[in-house]
Symmetry: C2
Subunit: 338 residues, 2 copies
């Protein structure tokens, strides 16, 4: 593979002069410049970014550590990150984690060895890992899309209160009083927080909190399906279900359909995320639009600020309700049959 020296030999100049020309730096005579450019093209010179980074101590690379992105939501964040990084001329090194996040420290180290200019975390599984927190505070500039143990890392989040409060208020306004909840993995802060907000909003409206109405659906379609059956098997009078993501909501709708319950006639369903399929489920799903891709992009911008200066201010992005056909007023007096 050709180097600056090879180009220089062919153009009869020193290799440093070639460097100047190719980077448009120093003063070089037009004729020489032309000769060098032609020589470079002739032998198909391609600069070596490794050597360049070594010397300039900047790799123009971002490291991303992410939860498994088979699911749409982390994939969307990743898309946002990648796109924004690309627009700033940065490459992205991607590391995804085992479900338990146990390999996070190892991959952080790999990123540090590769001298990435910054790190973006989207790995909720590691949100309680103290060692991860330490490394992120000590290592290159970092930004996270979720909590980091010990703090000290700027966060980009979607309004955490509103994310849960909007759909619950919507259901309460429609007259629902017994609202089931299908949660994400309950050890995740986001799931815990959404459930806590659910309780608070109930309390605000003088409604009782019934733990029988809360089931873990583990973020997955099948989890939502199974959780719904468990919920309806053991609790009565449920006229609405708040589902903490749309993927689970697909399972919820299916379970309700299996039980012969109509949505929203017998039971309203509200999801979260505004996943692409949410617009065409049967019925189309009322949900909370989450700015995943925007959050990824915002994380990159925040990271660039952190790299430039050192102002660690968090970013909070707005969420909004998308009203579709899966929610309606609570059935007059009869509860959902179940």
């Amino acid at each position: 593979m050709a180097s600056l020296r090879d180009v220089a030999a062919r153009a009869n100049v020193s290799f440093q002069t070639v460097s100047k020309v190719l980077n448009g730096k120093g003063a070089v005579a037009p004729a020489t410049r032309q000769r060098i450019i032609e020589a470079a093209e002739d032998i198909g010179y391609i600069p070596n970014a490794l050597a360049r980074s070594l010397q300039s101590r900047s790799s123009l690379t971002l490291g991303v550590i992410t939860v498994d992105f088979s699911n749409a939501t982390p994939a969307l964040s990743l898309v946002g990150i990648e796109r924004e990084a690309r627009q700033h001329g940065l490459s992205v090194i991607l590391s995804s984690l085992e479900p338990d996040g146990s390999d996070c420290v190892r991959y952080l180290r790999v990123l540090m060895e590769r001298r990435v200019d910054g790190i973006i975390m989207n790995a909720p599984a590691a949100e309680e890992d103290e060692e991860v927190g330490r490394l992120l505070r000590a290592g290159p500039p970092a930004v996270s899309l979720h909590d980091i143990a010990g703090g000290g890392v700027p966060l980009v989040t979607a309004e955490p209160e509103a994310t849960a409060a909007l759909p619950i208020r919507h259901l309460i306004a429609l007259g629902h009083r017994r609202i089931g909840v299908v949660t994400g993995l309950q050890q995740r802060h986001s799931a815990q927080h959404r459930t806590a907000v659910y309780r608070e909003v109930l309390a605000e409206h003088g409604l009782p909190y019934d733990p029988l109405l809360v089931e873990d659906g583990s973020w997955e379609v099948e989890g939502g399906y199974a959780a719904t059956h468990r919920l309806l098997d053991r609790a009565s009078g449920i006229t609405a279900i708040y589902v903490q993501n749309d993927l689970m909501a697909v399972g919820v709708l299916n379970a309700l359909h299996e039980r012969g319950l109509s949505v929203p006639g017998d039971c309203s369903v509200v999801g979260c995320d505004d996943h692409p399929v949410a617009a065409r489920t049967i019925p189309p799903l009322t949900t909370v639009r989450m700015p995943f891709a925007d959050a990824g992009a915002a994380a990159v911008r925040l990271l660039l600020e952190r790299i430039a200066s050192t102002s660690p201010k968090d970013v909070v992005l707005p969420v909004s309700m998308v009203y579709r056909a899966s929610t309606a007023s609570a059935p007059a007096s009869r509860a959902a049959r179940n």
Copy 2:
């Protein structure tokens, strides 16, 4: 940031000896070894992979060029790639493309500058780009998940014939004779090929091909929804629809539901991919299971072979039908109302 020299100074040895110890290469006295290891830990030495790669002319990095992976299927391939790469100790540099693939050449060049050890292509938008083909043949070892203009690049694909033939044969066996098709983007080879196989299978069974039964759904939920309405508006007697991916099938099911057509009573639907939601659509979707993640992993393995030797043999992965509730025998004699 600490270097080998810093560790060496602290341990009172030459920096090359530190290198030996940290890489477990040369013969070093246990006492010295210990001293060096402690020194390295004390000052928090982290090797510089950039310098290492420069010297060893191997970056332990794979470049991936992918179509936008907001959709589940390319995301799954990417997951497979990343996981397999990780298991081989390789990092992944991710570049996603604009929908038209126009920036492919640019990102290929970036990957070459970064001296990636190999490139994996999953960018159907660039499958006709001659320049991309040239670069891939001339540059570092490459493997692709789709056609490359001019060939010469090993391919990993899912049995292209079976992918379309299985669902069509299934529908014909159920007695369907007028089978609508909702295709992916028609300029994509895979969509073209599936539609061609559809024609062939019809011909095998002595059934006529009616271009009115084929509509472009552009791979997206909304595209599937709109295509279905167009299809049913202009063609009569359709009792089944073959949809070239599950995401569009969600839209198809919704459109049929809107028209008051029951699935599979009035119209059967068969999808493709076995997307996670396919198991819980209403009704659950009969579909073709596509090995996206496996293909990604296989691509990495094939690439490693190519890097080692130079045997460019393609890999073809099996697909299989998943029978669920969206298909049934054709209605006795009456056609679908539409």
